[in-house]
């Protein structure tokens, strides 16, 4: 409870939590909030200004931008959440194995170093080249990018935890490796991972937007913030609303996640207070 109060006292963290919650609600209720189908064409109203009928205006084929931005929120939450989970699963597995079984450590970590030698977005683009454009492939590509980042953090914690006296005691009692790792080591290295998770979430949302903007992310017919911005780019002069509204949506979403992450970090890991990690490696 005391921790919760610390969190609530930071207004920025609360603002972050509110923005994230809002984003989740919009994502869940997208079809209701959007009103119209994001694919529905209103050919007479191509590139229409924002009006009472089309709040955010319409795009070059007359699709409702409000509906597309709202559905984009849903997609970015799906991508962000899935990438986070995927990087947790991969990162925890690699980190626990490497940290606990020292023989595997060298090979696993060299492989992780190799993956991290590619700037994130470049690796994602290369993976998308081979996998082909789809939502699942975007999730896989970004997941691969963030696994090494989680793995490094986990491995670092495991190296410290495995030397503690309670792990030694457990080993002396003859408890098996699997039980030690699952019950004694894993729970103690979760909190830095969770903190990193919010930043990975944010980076994945940015990554999806960037990949789709470049035309190598989710297929163009699927409403995504990156796709809306990419299509709007050709009409920047005639229809700036196609850039301004989805842009504002991305910023609010990322800002929320960053603020929330900062708050969470202060809560779970006071040692890192004030240091923004290398989380923006998108």
């Amino acid at each position: 409870m005391r921790e919760l109060r610390v969190f609530l006292r930071r207004r920025s963290a609360v603002l972050g939590a509110v923005l994230v919650a809002l984003n989740v609600l919009v994502a869940l209720g997208a079809p209701l909030i959007a009103g119209v189908d994001p694919q529905a064409l209103d050919v007479k109203a191509r590139l229409a200004r924002p009006t009472g009928e089309h709040w955010f205006g319409t795009d070059h084929v007359g699709r409702d931008a409000w509906s597309r931005v709202i559905h984009g929120a849903r997609l970015s939450m799906i991508v962000g959440g899935s990438v986070m989970v995927l990087s947790f699963i991969g990162g925890l597995t690699v980190g626990l194995l490497g940290g606990y079984y020292r023989t595997m450590d060298n090979i696993l970590m060299r492989f992780m170093d190799g993956l991290m030698a590619f700037p994130g977005i470049i690796l994602a683009i290369a993976l998308m080249a081979s996998l082909g454009p789809s939502v699942v492939n975007v999730i896989v590509a970004l997941g691969v990018v963030y696994v090494p980042r989680v793995a490094r953090i986990v491995r670092g914690s495991v190296l410290v935890i495995r030397e503690t006296s309670y792990v030694e005691a457990a080993r002396a009692l003859g408890i098996g490796d699997l039980r030690i790792v699952a019950l004694h080591i894993l729970p103690n290295c979760v909190s830095p991972v969770i903190v990193q998770g919010t930043f990975i979430f944010a980076a994945a949302v940015l990554g999806e937007a960037a990949l789709s903007f470049l035309g190598v992310g989710v297929p163009p017919q699927i409403p995504s913030w990156g796709n809306v911005l990419s299509e709007g780019r050709s009409y920047l002069q005639q229809a700036p609303w196609l850039t301004l509204f989805p842009g504002a949506a991305i910023m609010a979403s990322i800002l929320g996640l960053n603020l929330f992450g900062d708050g969470l970090r202060d809560l779970l890991d006071p040692r890192l207070r004030g240091v923004q990690g290398a989380s923006r490696e998108s």
């Binding site: 030698a117 700037p119 290369a126 080249a129 082909g132 470049l214 991305i250």
Partner: protein, 314 residues
């Protein structure tokens, strides 16, 4: 110290091997085998089989991998399927804009980020600090391509100060070249300066709590000397670390920004290669960028040695 340098150099080798291997795997993740992609949709089964033999694709994977390492060691990245010429040639042709864009953005990022961080720490918890950090937070939350689009909208379309897109090569004159890079570099650099500002600020705040700062102040040193001579020198080290990361983010960002501003650099090359399924080009660009990034990180690590004597004696 020599031991440290040698060990650091040796550590690059496994990374390079993994990088080469990953780029080898990449091309094989694609549906269908590379030979049928290269041969095109109208090729017969015979054509594909012949191509497989000539490319060595009929050999066992480990054999292919070792051969690939050997080719890379000789600097042979293969030929582009679409452009019908060596990949390395195509890359060199497109390198200028990307290099210039990255360099200018780095300059912007450091020139804005470091002073902002120092000022923020100096006026800790004042309005100045808070507004600078609010800006940094916005910088961390805005994707570089969005900032690029917004800048085009304001400075290109509405105010008409700068060209909305396009690139003038160095040959076309220094000023015109610079003019075509102002907005892209600002879009990319300003976003990165946010991270640098935050790190510089927090490491300055740590250093300012040290005893020797108190000692300096109590012997009557001016605040300027304390901040710039004593504190900044010590606080700059974490900032140097992020320069390596910043480089990766800038190169990645350059790829995206080139699309926003229609700059014919490596970014456009790799994206068009992805869309045309020209795998050797994708592989080559990715590999080259990874090698450069590894080299930069190596240089950053070695730069510590020069700057921080404490590391030399570890």
């Amino acid at each position: 110290m020599l031991v440290y340098v040698v060990r650091r150099l040796l550590a690059v080798i496994p990374v390079m091997l993994v990088v080469a291997t990953v780029s080898f795997i990449l091309i094989r993740l694609a549906p269908g085998d590379p030979a049928s992609v290269i041969a095109g949709p109208y090729a017969t089964g015979d054509d594909i089989a012949r191509l497989q033999r000539s490319l060595g694709l009929d050999q066992a994977l480990p054999v292919q991998l070792v051969k690939w390492w050997g080719r890379l060691a000789r600097g042979d990245l293969g030929d582009s399927i679409f452009l019908r010429r060596p990949v390395l040639e195509a890359i060199f042709e497109r390198m200028e804009p990307t290099l210039l864009l990255t360099a200018w953005s780095m300059l912007v990022a450091v020139a804005v980020g470091v002073p902002a961080g120092v000022v923020s720490a100096r006026y800790h918890n004042t309005t100045v600090d808070q507004s600078l950090m609010a800006f940094a937070l916005i910088g961390l939350s805005i994707p570089n391509f969005l900032l690029g689009l917004l800048m085009i909208l304001f400075f290109g379309v509405w105010l008409g100060w700068l060209p909305v897109a396009g690139y003038v090569p160095l040959e076309g004159g220094l000023w015109l070249n610079l003019r075509s890079l102002i907005m892209p570099s600002l879009a990319l650099g300003l976003v990165q300066s946010a991270l640098i500002a935050r790190i510089t600020r927090s490491s300055m705040l740590d250093v300012l709590r040290e005893q020797y700062i108190l000692a300096g102040r109590s012997k009557g040193l001016s605040e300027r000397v304390v901040i710039y001579k004593h504190a900044l020198k010590n606080a700059i080290i974490p900032t140097l670390t992020v320069i390596g990361i910043t480089f990766a983010l800038l190169v990645g960002g350059a790829v995206v920004i080139e699309t926003v501003f229609n700059i014919p650099g490596l970014g456009r090359l790799i994206i068009s290669a992805v869309l045309r399924r020209d795998y050797p080009v994708v592989q080559g660009v990715v590999l080259l960028i990874a090698l450069t990034y590894t080299a930069i990180n190596l240089l950053v690590d070695l730069a510590y040695l020069a700057i921080d004597p404490r590391i030399r004696f570890r």
